[in-house]
Structure formats: structure tokens, C-alpha cells
């Protein structure tokens, strides 16, 4: 009975991942080919594509998406490997994980807004530069020349990267956000028991043969792990080529990236623009596919060159340069984090904060009060949606993982399953979400909560699965065998043995699901048709609003919400354990036998 239920859950999960994505793609392909009955377009043609490619900026848009996507991913991958090569055998590794982990759950929108704060012409870096200029001119010239500090201002202005036509600001912002993900994901692969055992052995052999730590990382560790991180890397790449929040907040407007243009066209009052948007969505899929091909091509090239250098026997691998860049990148992250935290927190309490002062003039709780009253409904929506989505995906994922163990699928089926798990992450959201909305409006027009729920599930389930699967497959199955041989049904084994043993991993997966749901911008906006405001959608909207200080409060709330989820996840198991040991103490049988065991 329970076995059947888990099997059903497995199918539900599969369909939940595939149907929305495939339906969504169909939903943009039809309008792209000129079929959109709602506005009287009934004939199939390639006219829409002709119009699209007739636009003066279209190639520039495509280039921007491709350049920022591929560039940021390559940069992030190289930087992540630099850090890993430098630190993976050092005691600092744990600290680095600690520094970078919060980035993982920091929503993209919040990241973009924070960067906007610190690198804007009136941001903290510009202020510090100006002050330093002023100080040095003061010190080195003469005490009475004050004009120089005033003159330093425009120079800081010119140095800004924001909204640049090349898309460098997008590229850097995406890299900053991707690096922690790539790094932590690689570490999680490296820490799988079997992989870990193998790698430890490899490194020992490498060291014994005289290879430096960086050389053994690039020549032994990386080639062994890369195949396992390839799929997640491709997901990162596709996300980078099609992300909306970061280019919307930091990128150029004329032209923007393709994804941002698609969003604007879809949301245009003129419904006929939807045809154009749909065709652009199809082109977006192609752009992301080209990015994937470029990435795979690069991988081939690097493998080819790498293979030849393997037999070269060089014991070093640019050790000095790599170590230096590893430290520099980490230092950069720490400085950036400090700057962001300082700026955002101070802004949220500032009455007035004039450039280039490093402190505001007066503090106030006004922005917090305003934000709290404005965010009550969005906050409740976010929480409700998050808890609902995360809890149901967790149940579905746990049943699916259990079904894998009760009835192992054949190799082909399990491969198909892991690909479909990545399907929502490998198809650009901006491409399929609009098509999905079109279908949803056809079927249940008024069920906006349901639609938003489904749109969130599509993104939350894969992450919850990936997070949970590691712990679940690590679990020593002999415990389950023992319990079964004690006469326990599969359900009893699952409920009484597996769930309690995996409690902390389950809570972490739950918190992760919560965080992913909190951070969703486009899926929330589209599936709800804007009728379910969440903290994230409000934060993005507030960027174009009047009050920087209010936006700062929104960013803080966005950052703190997922962290609270993780704190719950960390403390719940601790509390549960403490409660158990307290019960034991109360029962009074805690004798000193443990100190003097009878053997």
C-alpha cells in the first residue's frame, strides 16, 4: 500500500516538473507562429519572426544575453575553482563556506538591489574614494585648499559600471551570485562518501608524487568531479542567460537583454505585442541553447588541452597566481558583504544621508514603520505560499526518494528522471512561464493561488530534491533492513526510522525550499497576474519608486526571511535532542555507568 503511494508520488513529481514546462513551451510556440485566437490571429506564419528580426536592436539584445550569461558563468566557474584549489585542503574551508552560504539563499532581486546601493555614483565605494581623495589632497598639498575635494566628485561618478551598454555590470553581478552556488555545489559533490573516499586517496597519491595542492586539485580532483557538477552548471548558465531581475535592476535599457525585453513586451498593454514576445521567447530558448553549446565546446577544449598537460608531469599549476587570486576573490567578497550590510542597514534607519558622508544625518524608525505596514499582506502571502510550497514539495520528494529505494527504477528510467528534474532549470523561465500562464488562464481562470503554487513548485521541487537526495542516499540502508527484519512495514520503517534519523537534513531541505519560494520574482508576478504581491515583487517594484531608504528595508526583510527559515532548521533538531536527553535525566537512571562501561 505504502509502496504504491510512493510510486504515485514519484509519477506526480515527474508530471509536475514536465507538464508545466512542456505546456509552457507549446504556449509560446503557437503565438510565435502567429496563432493567438484571443486577438483574432488564427493563421500560422513566420511573419512574427520576420518582425522580430526586423527590429534594429534585436541582435544587440541577443548578444547581451549571450555575453552576460556565458561570460558570467565562465568567470564564476574559474573563480570558484580558484578558491577551491587554494582552500580545499586548508582549515579555512569551513569559514569560506560560512561566508558564502548566505549568498545561496539571498534572492537575486535583493542581490541586485544591494549592489545598486554600494556601486551607484552616490554609493559607499564612491563616498570612500571621494573622502580618501579629499584626505590625500589635504595631506599632500596644503591645508587650505578645499576645492579639490569638491572636484573629486565627478571622477567617482565616471567610474561607475551601472547600466553600461556592454552589460559588464550584469556580468559581474551574475558572477557574484553564481560563484557561491557553484562552490558549495562542488563541495557537496566532493563530500559524498564514495567520492570523498576516492578523492582523499587521489590527493594522497598526488602529494606523494610531489604534486602541489593546486596541481592535485586541477589534475586529480576536478577531472573526477566535473561530470557530476556539469548538469547543475548548465542550469546556472541557462539561468544567467535568461534572468530578469538582475538586468532589470542593473543593466542597460536601450537595448536591454532579451529576457527583460520579453517581459516588457508580454506585459505591454497592446495585446498584439504578445506575438512578438512569444517569438522572442522562442529565440531566448535558442540563445540559451547556443550558450550551452559554447560552454560544452569550451569544456571539450579545456579537457583536450588538460589531457596533454596531464602527462607533462608538471608538479605545479600556477600555484602562486592561483593562491593570490583565491585570497583576492575572498577578500573582495568580504569587503563587498561588509559594504552591503553597512549601507543597507544604515540606509534603513537614515533620516538623510548625503554624499559623500559616511554617516547619515540622524536616525529614524520611519522607514521600518512604513515598510512594515506596507508589507503586511505581501509578507503573509510570501510566508503562506512558501510554507505550502516547501512542505508539499518536501513530502513529494521524500516519497519519491523512498520509492526509489523500495522499487529501484531501471538505469534508463532513472536517467530520464534526473534529466526531467533539471528540465525547469534548463529551459529559460521567461520562455515557458508565459506560455504556462496562457494555458492556466484557459483552464481555471480564477485559481490564481493554484497557478502561483504550481509555478513555484516547478522551481522549488528540483532544489528540495537535490538537497534531500544527498542525505537520503547517504543513509545507511542496513538500518532499514534491521527494522524490516524486526517486523516493521515499509511505512513504519519510513516513519519511525528514516524520518527521525534524517530530521536535520529534512529541515534544511525544507528551509531551502522556503528560501527558493521566497525569492521567486517572475513566476509569482506572472502566474498571479500581479494579484498576489510578495516581499520580492514589492522589493523589485520599489527600486523604481521614490524612497531608497524604504528599498533598503525591503532588502533587509528579503535577506532575513530565508535566514530565519534556516535558523529554525538548525535549531529544531538540537531542541529535539535536548528534549530527549532531558527526559532521560528526569527519569533518574542516568547512572555513572557510561563512565565505567561494563564489557
Amino acid at each position: 500500500m505504502f509502496t504504491h503511494i510512493t510510486l504515485v508520488a514519484r509519477w506526480c513529481l515527474l508530471l509536475l516538473l514536465c507538464i508545466p514546462v512542456l505546456a509552457g513551451l507549446v504556449g509560446v510556440i503557437f503565438p510565435a507562429l502567429g496563432y493567438f485566437p484571443a486577438i483574432g490571429a488564427n493563421a500560422f506564419s513566420t511573419q512574427v519572426f520576420a518582425t522580430l528580426f526586423g527590429l534594429p536592436d534585436i541582435w544587440q539584445m541577443m548578444w547581451l544575453s549571450l555575453f552576460t550569461g556565458v561570460g558570467s558563468t565562465l568567470l564564476a566557474v574559474i573563480a570558484a575553482f580558484c578558491i577551491l584549489a587554494t582552500f580545499y585542503q586548508s582549515s579555512l574551508l569551513g569559514k569560506i563556506q560560512g561566508v558564502l552560504s548566505p549568498f545561496l539563499v539571498f534572492p537575486h532581486a535583493a542581490a541586485a538591489i544591494s549592489l545598486l546601493f554600494v556601486v551607484s555614483p552616490s554609493g559607499i565605494f564612491a563616498a570612500i574614494t571621494t573622502r580618501l581623495n579629499a584626505y590625500f589632497s589635504h595631506a599632500f598639498t596644503s591645508p587650505f585648499v578645499n576645492e579639490i575635494s569638491e572636484m573629486a566628485l565627478p571622477a567617482a561618478n565616471d567610474g561607475t559600471l551601472l547600466y553600461d551598454g556592454l552589460g559588464l555590470s550584469i556580468l559581474i553581478a551574475l558572477s557574484l551570485k553564481e560563484l557561491p552556488f557553484i562552490l558549495l555545489m562542488t563541495l557537496s559533490v566532493m563530500s559524498q562518501p564514495l567520492v570523498k573516499k576516492k578523492l582523499t586517496g587521489y590527493v594522497k597519491v598526488g602529494t606523494a608524487l610531489g604534486y602541489s595542492p593546486t596541481a592535485s586539485f586541477f589534475k586529480l580532483v576536478l577531472p573526477t568531479t566535473f561530470s557530476q557538477i556539469k548538469l547543475p552548471l548548465l542550469a546556472v548558465l541557462v539561468f544567467a542567460t535568461s534572468n530578469v531581475e538582475i538586468p532589470l535592476i542593473l543593466g542597460p535599457n536601450n537595448p536591454s537583454t532579451l529576457a527583460v525585453a520579453i517581459m516588457h513586451w508580454f506585459n505591454h498593454i497592446d495585446l498584439s505585442m504578445r506575438l512578438l514576445a512569444s517569438s522572442a521567447a522562442v529565440v531566448q530558448v535558442a540563445v540559451s541553447a547556443v550558450a550551452v553549446l559554447l560552454f560544452l565546446g569550451t569544456e571539450r577544449l579545456v579537457t583536450y588541452i588538460g589531457k596533454r598537460s596531464l602527462s607533462g608531469g608538471n608538479r605545479y599549476f600556477a600555484d602562486g597566481a592561483l593562491r593570490a587570486s583565491g585570497f583576492v576573490i575572498m577578500a573582495f567578497y568580504i569587503i563587498l558583504i561588509c559594504a552591503v550590510v553597512y549601507t543597507v542597514v544604515v540606509y534603513s534607519f537614515a533620516k538623510q544621508w548625503h554624499f559623500p558622508l559616511l554617516l547619515p544625518e540622524g536616525l529614524t524608525l520611519l522607514h521600518w514603520n512604513t515598510a512594515i505596514s506596507a508589507l503586511t499582506t505581501p509578507f503573509i502571502n510570501t510566508l503562506l505560499l512558501g510554507v505550502l510550497v516547501s512542505t508539499t514539495s518536501l513530502i513529494l520528494v521524500l516519497f519519491t526518494l523512498e520509492s526509489e529505494q523500495l522499487q529501484p527504477a531501471r538505469a534508463v528510467a532513472s536517467n530520464a528522471f534526473s534529466v526531467s528534474l533539471f528540465l525547469p532549470l534548463l529551459v529559460p523561465g521567461v520562455a515557458f512561464l508565459y506560455g504556462l500562464v496562457w494555458f492556466q488562464q484557459l483552464i481555471f481562470q480564477n485559481a490564481v493561488w493554484f497557478h502561483t503554487y504550481v509555478a513555484h513548485m516547478v522551481y522549488v521541487v528540483p532544489y528540495v530534491f537535490l538537497s534531500m537526495a544527498v542525505a537520503y542516499r547517504k543513509f545507511d540502508n542496513r538500518y532499514a533492513m534491521v527494522a524490516q527484519s524486526l517486523g516493521k512495514t515499509p511505512w513504519q520503517v519510513f516513519y519511525h526510522v528514516k524520518l527521525p534519523s534524517l530530521f536535520s537534513a529534512i529541515m534544511v531541505a525544507w528551509a531551502l525550499g522556503l528560501a527558493i519560494s521566497f525569492s521567486q520574482y517572475l513566476p509569482t508576478l506572472l502566474a498571479s497576474g500581479g494579484t498576489i504581491p510578495t516581499v520580492t515583487t514589492e522589493a523589485v517594484a520599489s527600486v523604481s519608486g521614490s524612497s531608497t531608504r524604504l528599498t533598503a528595508v525591503y532588502v533587509i526583510i528579503q535577506a532575513v526571511m530565508p535566514l530565519i527559515g534556516f535558523m529554525i532548521a538548525w535549531y529544531m533538531p538540537v531542541i529535539a535532542t535536548r528534549k530527549r536527553s532531558r527526559q532521560m535525566l528526569v527519569s533518574g537512571t542516568h547512572s555513572n555507568r557510561s563512565a565505567n562501561p561494563v564489557q
Binding site: 534491521v482 527484519s485 564489557q599
Partner: protein
């Protein structure tokens, strides 16, 4: 009693070995062989926990009933591994209570007494409320043994249960295990590398290659 009739274990449809044996109540059958020969796989086949790529043919009978197609949890075949595998989220007493058949005891007090009786038998009285993490290796091994006995199995399978214990402890735990099995008149199959284990078990020895 346990009867294995023409039991053949396959790996990917390739037969590993063939085996027929009868194990009477209170007797221990010892199966020896090099690693990778499929000793543990045989135990998993009897317990019903065989996983791909392995499969089994032939008849496995417990008290003259063929159990090949009976669900794992209904077979009443207890299994023990080289690790004690006590559930860490339960106390010692809870581990044992978890193993006891449903509604075997009328009330909590009777169940509590039964748990204590079992603990006394292996000289561990009074540790029912202890956290399993606080036990020594030898204590864990004994708790694991009485947990298996508490489930009142018809057959007990021992998968190298003494191999991780140090030499001093090994013979003690071993004699405890065999005397408990004999006292309860349970048939058992022991898989081991160690000739001393086989000698101590005192039953038939089958070597597979």
C-alpha cells in the same frame, strides 16, 4: 526450523553458488567463504531483502512453510550486522520496545518488565533509559542482540556480527549470542571469515567459493 532447498544465488543471471541445508531449532549453520563470494547476499535472500542485480531461485522454508514470496516484514527473520545499528533517536528501551511485536503486552508496565528481563539476561539491567550513543561497543552489541530476540523471530541471520569487536570482547559476546539463541531454540545462519566463530557456533559449516 530453516530449510534451504536447491537455493541458487544469481548475479545478473549468472549463478554464484548452489546450496541446500537444514538448520534445526537451536542450531547454528555457519557459512564461510572469501569476500565477494555472496555470503551476505545469501542472508539477504533469506531475509527477503535481495536487491538488483542479485536474484534467487529454489525454496526457502521456515517451519515447513515456503517464505520466498512473503513480504520482508512478515517473514519473522531477524538479521544482525557487524555494526549494532541501534536507532540513535531512540533510547535503549525504546529500541527494544520498537522491536517487540504489536500488542504483545497488555500494558506498559508488563512491557517495561519484559524489556528489563531481556536486559538482565545480558547483564545490562537498568540502562533502558540511556541514550544509545552513551553505550560502549560491547554494550551496543548486546543491546542489538536482545533487540533482535525481542522481535521473536523464527530464524536469526548473523552477518559477521563479531568482526568489529576487539578480541577480548569477541569471545564473550559470541558465547552470549549463541547461548541466547540456544535458550530460545532459534535456528540461526552465521556468515563469517573467522574459523573461531565457526568452532564456537558448533553447528555444520558450509564453505562457498
Amino acid at each position: 526450523m530453516l530449510s534451504l532447498e536447491n537455493v541458487v544465488i544469481y548475479r545478473d543471471d549468472k549463478p554464484l553458488f548452489q546450496l541446500s541445508a537444514d538448520v534445526a531449532k537451536g542450531e547454528v549453520l555457519t557459512v564461510m567463504g572469501p569476500s565477494g563470494a555472496g555470503k551476505s547476499t545469501l542472508l539477504q535472500a533469506i531475509a527477503g531483502q535481495l536487491q538488483a542485480p542479485f536474484s534467487v531461485t529454489g525454496q526457502i522454508k521456515v517451519n515447513h512453510v515456503v517464505i520466498n514470496d512473503i513480504d520482508v516484514h512478515l517473514r519473522k527473520v531477524g538479521i544482525m550486522f557487524q555494526d549494532a545499528l541501534l536507532f540513535e533517536h531512540m533510547t535503549v528501551g525504546e529500541n527494544i520496545a520498537f522491536a517487540m511485536p504489536d500488542k504483545a503486552y497488555k500494558n506498559k508496565q508488563l512491557k517495561h518488565d519484559a524489556i528489563n528481563t531481556l536486559l538482565v539476561a545480558v547483564e545490562l539491567d537498568g540502562i533502558a533509559d540511556r541514550n544509545v550513543n552513551t553505550l560502549s561497543g560491547g554494550q551496543q552489541a548486546r543491546v542489538s542482540l536482545i533487540r533482535t530476540l525481542a522481535s521473536e523471530p523464527d530464524v536469526v541471520l548473523l552477518d559477521e556480527p563479531f568482526s568489529k569487536l576487539d578480541v577480548a570482547l569477541r569471545s564473550q559476546i559470541r558465547s552470549w549470542t549463541f547461548s541466547q539463541l540456544k535458550a530460545r531454540n532459534m535456528p540461526a545462519v552465521l556468515v563469517t571469515h573467522d574459523k573461531d566463530d565457526a568452532l564456537a557456533a558448533g553447528g555444520n559449516v558450509i564453505e562457498i567459493l
